[in-house]
Symmetry: C2
Subunit: 391 residues, 2 copies
């Protein structure tokens, strides 16, 4: 019992954290409950029941399957489901008529062949990456509706009515899901995407700033008590590709709202995201150097280190400015200033190296990688700047 | 029309490529068609139809929704669907009885409340990452079945029969899907996972080997005609995290088969995958150096370069041996030999650097990053070796 109690406390803690991290999740749960109660009225209210009969159950299913966390997700699934049902129903009725021409015995054979060919073809379509990304759900529903209408029509003789009722209830379900999704605390995936990309840039920026501080203190005194939290932040950027792509796919379904127009250039976010990821690979290396570099602090490193610190600090600030630019959709002038500063520091460093100030090679082993990385980071910063112009 | 024709040719080419890259996809399409034809027999064959009536349509839906590309996927969805239907049906019947106690007017209110509370709670459960990964589909089906049974039971008065028939047909559908999935050219996701991890290591290995060759030729003569194909291979490793995790989740559903026992340590693959990804970040940096390093080839680089080449070549070979180890599940002795070699080369290089052979700092700028990276790669190799012991 002690163990069970611990487990329960553990799960409760996790649930609490989930809700607190993202209160919209709790609102979403209530939205699902509300939408379902609304759609159940089709059953409970007598006049509505008389109109829809048992097929009202499809509206219930539709609400549950279509109502997603984000508006883009709901709209995408709703449109997929509606049009796929329409197309699948029409094809099913067509197959039914075709089969009816083939006589008593031929009918099931023709129907079976139709079902087999169509499902095999649609299953193959699902392997296309472009189809998978945006229309996967629609393709499944297309197969479902076609099979249901054509197969069950064999016994019911009334495939047209089945197809029609199904379509009608599905539209009702989609409309309810969509209204609940948009009218009650809508979660726009486009805004989330923008926030994610900006947060990623900010994480990189605060790593660079933190790196600048830590790098200084290492050479200053031996007792190192650095706040290590900035070291972990950027890790999530390394593997953000999948979630960015999913969000862009969903965002493309969303209609214009607020500051986002209908054909908002979502793909630009992907580009910025990719550049941020490339930058994070370099930061991963940088953080490896930070961990190993605590030993061997020598006089000669002073000047190089100063340039490195300058570069990381300034490019960190520039990245944070970039994040703010993406968030507010207006360019600030101080960003260019920071980028210029970091470029200047890089130039200083290059000339420092070219004059051959250094002869002790053991210390170089630790410094130069950081320099190389910092200059690459700068390249990335300027590259990101170019992209953000396009936003 | 010319444009349409081009588009058709384009799509046909893509389809051809999809099928040729992975012939199992075509087999999968045929399997779906076959399974659906089998399940349609519930409708076409008279005695079966008399037994299942219209609820046979649920078996059709089940086959379409459960039959996935891999055995693990099919089994996971099938089990999720069966148990969720069982649980949802039981809860639905319970809610129905509870509501019946509350009289004519109270009944819809109690039912509505039950549906609202249960769906909100289950929706919240879906936000837990652990639940999302393995039981997402089951949770959706749980909500669906519960709502259907309790809501439609309000009019039909016979919720128990609905729940029972639904469960029975779903089991029939799952069994058909599973038999088709396992008996006809099964696609074991565990084997695919093993192959993916091994292929990733191999890509890293061939990059390192190719790097070794290219690095040599750059210093040798100015005319560079290197085979650039190895430069792209490792890119897919950078972003393989999501697909690896998905595959591990699916693989855990699979029963033991062939050389894989039931409780195969799938998580080890994730560990190896993570290490390989860390290694690929370093390789990304290395490849950046390769692109920029074509200028400034000086005499003094000779010896360092020799060590670098030795290190990358040997660790590349070791990674390839590791890939073979994972594939055949037996350790080869030559791997340790390669790792020892690369370690030796690293030691040589370190002593070379410590003796302070170099004084010209401009060339160092290009060489030392490669050295640092190569030694990190070696760390990764030894780390991977440790992991592969556990497999």
């Amino acid at each position: 019992p002690e163990k069970t109690k611990n487990k329960v406390v553990n799960v409760a803690g996790k649930a609490n954290k989930l809700g607190r991290d993202e209160p919209r999740r709790i609102i979403h749960c209530l939205k699902v409950g509300l939408a379902l109660t609304l759609v159940s009225l089709l059953y409970y209210v007598h006049p509505l029941y008389k109109f829809f009969h048992e097929s009202g159950v499809w509206a219930v299913l539709t609400v549950l399957l279509v109502l997603e966390f984000t508006v883009g997700g709901t709209l995408g699934r709703g449109l997929n489901r509606t049009f796929a049902t329409l197309l699948g129903g029409a094809l099913g009725v067509g197959a039914q008529h075709l089969a009816a021409l083939s006589g008593e015995i031929g009918q099931p054979i023709v129907l079976g062949l139709c079902v087999m060919v169509l499902t095999a073809a649609v299953t193959f379509l699902r392997f296309f990456p472009e189809m998978k990304a945006r229309y996967d759900y629609g393709l499944i529903i297309l197969m479902l509706t076609f099979s249901m209408v054509s197969v069950s029509g064999y016994r019911d003789e009334d495939a047209l009515t089945i197809a029609y009722e199904r379509l009608l209830t599905i539209i009702v379900g989609c409309v309810i899901a969509l209204l609940v999704s948009i009218l009650i605390c809508p979660v726009w995936v486009g805004e989330d995407l923008q926030r994610l990309i900006a947060a990623n840039l900010e994480k990189l920026g605060s790593f660079l700033e933190g790196f600048s501080g830590a790098y200084c203190r290492i050479s200053g005194d031996a007792q190192i008590t650095i706040d290590q939290s900035f070291l972990q932040g950027y890790k999530s950027v390394l593997t953000s590709k999948h979630s960015e792509e999913t969000m862009v796919n969903l965002a493309r379904w969303e209609p214009g709202h607020g500051r986002f127009l209908f054909r908002h250039p979502w793909k630009q976010y992907l580009k910025v995201g990719t550049l941020a990821r490339q930058c994070s690979y370099k930061i991963e290396i940088l953080s490896g150097h930070l961990a190993s570099e605590i030993e061997a602090a020598q006089e000669i490193r002073g000047e190089i280190q100063e340039s490195c610190r300058e570069m990381t600090r300034e490019s960190g600030k520039a990245l944070k400015e970039l994040a703010a630019t993406i968030r507010t959709m207006t360019r600030s002038t101080s960003m260019d200033f920071h980028i210029e500063n970091s470029k200047g520091a890089a130039k200083n460093l290059m000339s420092l190296l070219e004059t051959g100030l250094l002869e002790d090679s053991t210390t170089l082993l630790e410094i130069i990688p950081a320099v190389a990385v910092a200059s690459t980071v700068m390249d990335i910063v300027t590259c990101t700047e170019r992209i953000s112009d396009a936003v």
